[in-house]
Every structure is written in C-alpha cells, then in structure tokens.
Symmetry: D2
Subunit: 110 residues, 4 copies
Amino acid sequence: MLEASPDILSRLGQTLIERKQAAPGSSYVASLYAKGLDAILKKVAEEAAETIMAAKDGQPDKIVYEVADLWFHSMILLAHSGLTPQDVLNELARREGVSGHVEKQSRKES
Amino acid sequence: MLEASPDILSRLGQTLIERKQAAPGSSYVASLYAKGLDAILKKVAEEAAETIMAAKDGQPDKIVYEVADLWFHSMILLAHSGLTPQDVLNELARREGVSGHVEKQSRKES
Amino acid sequence: MLEASPDILSRLGQTLIERKQAAPGSSYVASLYAKGLDAILKKVAEEAAETIMAAKDGQPDKIVYEVADLWFHSMILLAHSGLTPQDVLNELARREGVSGHVEKQSRKES
Amino acid sequence: MLEASPDILSRLGQTLIERKQAAPGSSYVASLYAKGLDAILKKVAEEAAETIMAAKDGQPDKIVYEVADLWFHSMILLAHSGLTPQDVLNELARREGVSGHVEKQSRKES
C-alpha cells in the first residue's frame, strides 16, 4: 500500500479553516462549526471514548479508525480556535528537544 | 519561528516503538507501557478532558499543549497495539479521497 | 420546593430493568438497550463531558442537569449489566465505614 | 447482606460540604478541593473512563466500584459548586414526572 504523505495534516488543517467560511449545511464540518464550541468538544469526548472501546476490543483496524476520528475532531477544534495541526507538531518537536532548525539540518544531510 | 517537519510524527512513532523494549523505570513512556493498556487509556481520557477544559478556558497556548498531550498518548496507544501514526495518516488520507499515489502525483506537479 | 425522596434511585433502577423487556422503539431507554453496550458507554462519556463543560461555564442549573444525565445513563449501564443503583449505594456506604447494620441502628435511634 | 439506606447520598453530600472548610492535607477530598475545579473535573473524566473500561471487561464488581467512584467525584463537584446530591435527585424525580408531593402521597398509601 502506498503511504500518505505526512503533509496530509497541513492539507486537512487548511481545508478545515476554509470550511469555517462555508454555509452551515454544506458539509459535516461546516454544520459542526455552526453548532459551536460545545458541540465540537462533545465530539472530541465521544471519539476519545470510542478509541478506548476499540482498544478494549483489541481490534487494530478499529483503533486506527477511532484515533483518526479523534485527531480529525481535535483538528476541527484547532481550526475553530484559529490554530493549526502544525502548532501541535511544533509543540511535539519542542518536547522532543529537537528545534525545527536542527531538524531541517538533519534532513538536508540525510 | 522555524517549523517542525511533519516527519516528527513518524520519528515519534519510531521512538515509541523502541521504548517498548526499554526497562520500565527508564522513561515516562516505558513506565506507562509497564502499567498496561488500561493505564494508557486512562491517560487518553484525561488528556481529552484537559483539551476540553483548555478550550473552555479559551487559551490557545493551552489548547495546543493539551492536543499535543492527547496526540502523544494516542500514539503510545498505537505503539502498544503494534500500530503507527502513519496508519492514522493513511486513514485520514483515505477519507479525504486522495490515495497516496494521487497525492504523490499532485505534489510532483505543484 | 418539595424534596424528592431518595427512593427515586431504586424506583428508577426498577423502571430501567423493566425497560429491558420492552420493544426497542417504545422509549429512549429501550432504544439505547437495543443499540447495545457501546452505545450506552458512549452516552456515559458524552454526559461526563457535558458535566465538565457545564462546570467550566459555572452554571449551577446546568451542572445539576448534566450530573442527572450522567447518573441516569450510568444507571442504564447498571441495569444493562444486571446491577442496581442500590449496589452503588452499598459500595458508597461500605467506603464510608458504615455498615448497613450500623446505619439502620442509627436511623432507629435518631 | 444488609442494604445501605438511600440516605447515604444526603449524608455523603453533607460530609463533602463540611470538608470544604477542612485543611487541604487533612483528607483526599480536602486535597482535591485545594487543587481546584480542573482537578475535580479531571477525576470525573478519569472515573467515567474507568467505568467504560470496567464495562468492556464485563466485571460486575468492577462496574459497581467505578460507578461509585464516578458518583462520588460528581458529588465533590456538586459540593464545590454549592450543590447537593438532593438537587440531582430532585431533577431525576422531575423528569420522571413525579413531584415530591405526589411521591410522598403514594408512599403513605402503599
């Protein structure tokens, strides 16, 4: 199977920001924005619960599916708050103790 | 600020898999693996709750921090289940209706 | 305002057990049973999230409403599992270090 | 086994309100109050998650134990917000369409 580029996150983040301007009925995401912050957060909680249930069921396919749902809805929250998946990746990289600069260097060298 | 490469996810996924062989006391992640699946899932729930609280507080920095925590702990769950962040990215790309192949093509052309 | 008797819990527990025999379409609870355990658990997670959001909003009426929802759906889970609210009250009393016997005594005396 | 009186809830609610005046280190509950609202809400989320996991494990004793934890921590939230378990019982009775008055009547008659 061909692998999706990690750019999928920035592309999705971009799409989610664009949907903020769309008519409420035009898509699932636009409808969720129209319902407001609490509706988005309820979905985050629901997907976290479904991730937990999938893990307890021990079904790898379902785990992947539910984690994708969880990440997707947390990206809707990010977009709703004017944030992007890149902000989260930067935070993860910061914790890893690898600055973007060092990282770019290592990529050039490899 | 320099941007972290999206490869941070695959690098983190790799690190998390390596930690599965490590001594329980050697790191936070190794300790969490040692405690078992329920302990990991409890953290996923906890980070989802903290994401919700940060969003209700309306603090962008805190939202980014908590979503990073949520994604990080869901990556620990993935590694625990023999899965990788790439599996989740593939699922997100699949939903977007863009196969990895088409994606690669469009990147070449752009 | 007149106060509801604490017996409301045992009465509700009884009603919830009776609904397990009812036709799926006959009530909200009967429909939820028909959907199965995961649907019930998803509601428990959702109501916990709504309780958290109500508390962050600092609205007492909403907190009461959402905690009632949370308890109600955990009672559906209890009934689904052949358990009753009384089992939970017994556990809470056990932790309090007051046996049912001692409690009954103290009620007689008061 | 002797049954705990349903009064356990009002007695617990009373104890939880009294603990609000206690020194932070004097008990688990007093420490939780001292940590503030977010710490209480994190526990509510955690206990909801543990309830879900116990239910997926299909262990009745564990379900009772975790629901007791969930109710206990939502009672701490109630007390923190100046509310009582009785407020929740009233809301549940209101939904049942049985006023406290009617209830008292029916109890006299039975």
